[in-house]
Symmetry: C2
Subunit: 191 residues, 2 copies
Amino acid sequence: MDTATPRARRRDAAATREALLMAARTLLSEHGVEGTSTRDVAARAGVNQALVYRYFGSKEKLFAEAADRGWDSADTMTTDLPLKDLPRALLERALNVGAEHPGGLSGLVTAANDDMIRAVVRERIERAFDEQLAPRLSGPDRALRAELLAALITGVAVLRGKVGAKALTAADREAIGEYVDRMAASLLDLG
Amino acid sequence: MDTATPRARRRDAAATREALLMAARTLLSEHGVEGTSTRDVAARAGVNQALVYRYFGSKEKLFAEAADRGWDSADTMTTDLPLKDLPRALLERALNVGAEHPGGLSGLVTAANDDMIRAVVRERIERAFDEQLAPRLSGPDRALRAELLAALITGVAVLRGKVGAKALTAADREAIGEYVDRMAASLLDLG
DNA sequence: AAGCCAAGTCAACGAGTGACTACTTAACCG
DNA sequence: CGGTTAAGTAGTCACTCGTTGACTTGGCTT
């Protein structure tokens, strides 16, 4: 009824495109690029396979756009958040996998055996940590220390969310967060 | 001439098997399970493709055995090394990728979007860190803290060796090692 | 030298892949 | 209402995949 949000049409190009993107994100995180066919993505989106090519042109472009989604929250964190709150917030975000954030960081990283995904991940990590976080640090090796924070978060996310290591999976986020905070402090608080 | 090391026969089952395993290790780390065909592996090993099935029975069994290789050094480290030397040694090993250690940890982890590889990695990480390292620690949450050390090493290895993050790639191992040591100390040295 | 068996080769299969095209259908506009 | 156009469908193409089984060849034993 509202002109800004017209009621859903039965045929909705934008919604179909979005459904494909979300399905691609989930399957990309679970099985990688080569492990996911365009038919898999279309089936999960409840959509015809040829629409992948109507809306994205190729399998590669679909996955490239899918992999580039969801980094905005990380960007705002590394620019705005107080340094003492940053590690915990990044960790929380990285461990948060659900319908809204399918796959998450651990899924993307384990899809990084594909050249194109690798490029996307490198780009976004460098943007968030080298360009945004590093200048906010004091002391030597700012970029290196910023990337080491990214490495810590990444490692925890992968070992808990993907590999499923016993203790990390069993522990609650609060406990993990305290140790991560401690490690991050020893990295960020330098003379 | 020596009976212990007979000169290479033109037909050598053991050598062929080993060549296939090494080729599989390399390609597994570079492109994952689904991204590598049995024909790729055979070609890199300089061997006929059907021999994959003679010696391993299936593609899956070949990659399972390939992924299980090279963990012995990690096992001896987590049992024998003094705790203060352990983080640096684990890092050195994880960053060491070459002909002898094709792929390395970063390659295996990014291949973990395959169920079977994931199981192998989880198993070996739990063996080295939960069963061997954790009992050597003092203080609370031994298994969790042991796995967090594994996560730190993993994250650094993946971001440097696979993603290719700028600062981590440019930095020399010594500089990275110092920061990793500092972070690990804040994790392992508890009252 | 003959024979045997492991080691290695070859060609083919059925299923599935990315990509593309020609077609049909639904929704909006005058 | 009727027509136009975007949205969605079905089918096809050339190719690669894992896997198999029938075949050949090298090299040791006797």
